[in-house]
Amino acid sequence: MIDTILSNIALIIGTTLMYSTPLIYTSLGGVLSENSGVINIGLEGMMIIGAFAGAAIGYFVGDPWIAFIGAGIVGGLFGLLHAFACVTFGANQVVSGIAINFLGAGIALFLSRMLFEGATMTKSIALDNKMPRPLNGVFHDGSFLNIIFNNQYATVYLAFIMVFLIWFFMYKTKYGLRLRSVGEHPTAADTLGINVIKIRYLAVIMSGVFSGFGGAAMSLAIVSNFRPTLVSGHGFIALAAMIFGKWKPQGALLACLLFGGAQGLAVFLGQFDFEISSQLISMLPYVITIVVLIGFVGKSAAPSADGIPYEREQKN
């Protein structure tokens, strides 16, 4: 009896880690962009194109790490596009983000049809070419730790390392201090000789890179191909997680674990024969997102200059 409960708990923890991972990468991307003062509602689109690039490169090249990095680069290109519109031209950041979302989904589908004989789904990557599972078979078969870690892909561990690295970067290095200053008060940063434009560009590009990683963490690990419904709102959940986490990497991590946990729970409950329809159970993560956003988020936590384009030579 206790064994079953324990293994069920282990199972939920395991699925939580698995489902949180793509969210963690993507919300870190959001943290970087928004702390520099650029709202990035295009995380979803960047995640979709990253998922596609990961699956496609993984299929053709066969190396998961090249595919993962490739996904980051493609995501970064979309970030560059967003930065170009928002930083150089001072475009409305929400509108640009929405455009990126359409563009990401559209281009992914278009390229998929072009490269995979008209199919909207990429061909599956061979099991050996997926992300490695570093702790596979390390723990005793059926043990608590084994259930949690046996099937976790390398992307899971890397995500946690990234959270630490981004936290260290933002709060312990001079470039992190500058990044945050640009998001809070770009004019002040400018008067101190900090290059606002450059920092915002880099931050938004890195936001695309991390979203690309997030997408690839789905298509190279959780599943082994890309299909148009794969990402379906995870970019937005990551955005919500970043907001719920008060624009901080460590906060975003906890929020992602919450949302991932909701998804894990939904999967876990889905295996039983409930009177509740499975569709309702799969709504869980989305419902939690809405409840959390309504109930717990104060506007005050956002960087003061988030969403405001920076222009220098303005008169009044």
């Binding site: 290095t173 001079k174 201090l177 002040a188």
Partner: protein, 513 residues
């Protein structure tokens, strides 16, 4: 003695020669010359929009001049960004502080020149030591670990000065440094300026306040509408001389007003209690009453409940308990709409946030309270023809410039924005006119106009409630003066008998019996 003779033996550290700066067709600076000398305070005097800040932004590398040249220590330099200015020892304290409020004092000071150990990792220990060292050297005491959002405005200004000194500034530009300070903080600032010049630093003081220029500056450059008017030795002139050069005509400082007997009580507040945004009591059982035909001045240091009191009267903030009456009618917790309809007009503290819709044009701003009434609207449709006619009338009557009712409120100077607000509020023919900080940030010409308008209301037997942090203004304009301290009225005096010392003491809580 003259400027030439007075400066002959001094060391020139900066020369700005024939600086011209155009924004499109608009000439912000027109061949302006400025010399700065080592260890001296050079003031830059001019009305709002005269081009003082533009000139300094050029020196600091934020704008590039259209033509002209800058020499530092005799060498021609090309200052294209603030980093170059900083490298040349120029530091700037901006009018609107350039501080990152969620950061600590130390983080703000080191930003951009951070001490680091390996791999760009911040060395906060060294940062704290550096900050402590310079703050002690110049007597600018601050708590380096405090967050900027938690410290007073005067402290924030010290942080700004420290920021510049940390970067090795030899020349310090102070842009309207006293605009936000209390009288006590101004005294401290002038002392700080003296300490700095003793250490050989040069100060450029941008201001339109004559008093502090005569107190602190050695020389003064006067600019009017972007043009170089004159450079004078401050000790050889006086406030009136400076003022007429700045405005281009004679200005009267004392406000001309005749004695007048006040009428019956028209407005009263009884035991009013109001809380601030944090839920702390800001107005504490306050009582006061105003009579017809008087200007009632409320003196006090910022943050003693003035804002909350105003918001409670005008219906913008909830009254916890107590009563507000006008003309025998209770208006406690009325909506702003109801308050306006009871003939109360309000010139708000923050003219850009609450006084105007900046992205509406002048004509739309003049009817914000009456847009639904005939002849501005008929059957719910705005009658732009009539609105225009009305706006034109007000523009002429109140001398708003430019004389174009289609100009966006955002593009007007501060003084003209205030004129639009006054025009709108006074034209409602109120029984009570509330004027909160009506001259904040305005130059002498505009101040004169505002004061005249208030006195005109009083002479028409209206009640005027003036709230200001400037004691001089309160004493010049009011008939009766009350002092607010920690949400309570701590004293009321007739303006004729009031002494600045007693009022100042009460403002600081000292007169509280």
């Amino acid at each position: 003695m003259g400027y030439e003779n007075a400066t002959r033996s001094l060391t020139k550290v900066i020369e700005m020669k024939n600086i011209t700066k155009k924004f499109g067709d608009f000439v912000a600076n027109d061949s302006v010359n400025l010399d700065i000398f080592k260890g001296k305070v050079h003031a830059l005097l001019g009305e709002n929009g005269a081009g003082k800040s533009t000139l300094m932004n050029i020196l600091y590398g934020l704008y590039s001049p259209t033509s002209g040249e800058i020499l530092i220590n005799g060498k021609k330099v090309n200052i294209t960004n603030p980093n170059i200015a900083i490298d040349h020892g120029i530091g700037m304290v901006h009018q609107h502080f350039m501080l990152i409020t969620p950061f600590t004092v130390a983080q703000n000071i080191i930003l951009g020149r951070e001490p680091t150990s390996k791999m760009s990792v911040l060395n906060m220990k060294k940062a704290l030591m550096d900050v402590k060292e310079i703050s002690e050297r110049y007597g600018l005491y601050v708590d380096p670990n405090a967050k900027v959002e938690d410290i007073s405005v005067g402290m924030q200004q010290r942080v700004e000065i420290l920021k510049a000194l940390y970067r090795g500034a030899e020349i310090l530009i102070l842009d309207e440094p006293t605009a936000v300070l209390t009288p006590q903080e101004i005294v401290e600032l002038i002392q700080i300026i003296k300490n700095l010049t003793k250490e050989g630093k040069s100060i450029i003081l941008i201001s339109h306040k004559l008093k502090e220029i005569t107190e602190a500056a050695d020389f003064c450059l006067i600019i009017r509408r972007g043009k170089h008017i004159d450079t004078v030795v401050v000790s050889e002139t006086d406030e009136a001389g400076l003022a007429s050069k700045m405005v281009g005509r004679e200005v009267s400082f004392s406000v001309a007003k005749e004695d007048k007997e006040a009428g019956d009580e028209i407005f009263s507040i009884k035991d009013l209690v109001v809380k601030d945004n944090r839920g702390i009591i800001a107005v504490d059982k306050l009582n006061l009453s105003l009579k017809k035909g008087e200007i009632f001045g409320l003196a006090g240091i910022d943050g003693n409940g003035q804002t909350e009191l105003l918001e409670a009267i005008t219906g913008l903030r909830k009254v916890e308990s107590g009563q507000i009456m006008i003309n025998g009618k209770d208006i406690t917790n009325n909506t702003p709409f109801q308050v306006i309809s009871k003939k109360i007009s309000h010139i708000p503290e923050d003219r850009q946030k609450r006084g105007l819709v900046l992205d509406f044009d002048i004509s739309e701003n003049t009817i914000l309270e009456n847009y639904y009434k005939n002849p501005f609207a008929r059957k719910g449709i705005l009658q732009y023809k009539n609105i225009k006619v009305y706006a034109k009338e007000l523009i002429n009557k109140f001398d708003v410039r430019p004389k174009d009712e289609a100009k966006m409120a955002r593009t007007l100077s501060g003084g003209n924005q205030q004129k639009v607000i006054i025009a709108r509020e006074v034209s409602n023919n109120p029984d009570l006119l509330i004027a909160a900080q009506p001259t904040r940030g305005l130059d002498v010409g505009a101040i004169e106009f505002v004061h005249k308008s208030l006195i005109e209301q009083r002479d028409n037997d209206k009640a005027v409630f003036l709230i200001s942090f400037e004691l001089d203004e309160i004493m010049n304009v009011s008939d009766r003066i009350a002092v607010i301290y920690e949400g309570k009225i701590v004293g009321i005096e007739d303006a004729k008998d009031a002494k600045i010392e007693t009022l100042g003491l009460m403002m600081a809580g000292g007169g509280n019996k």
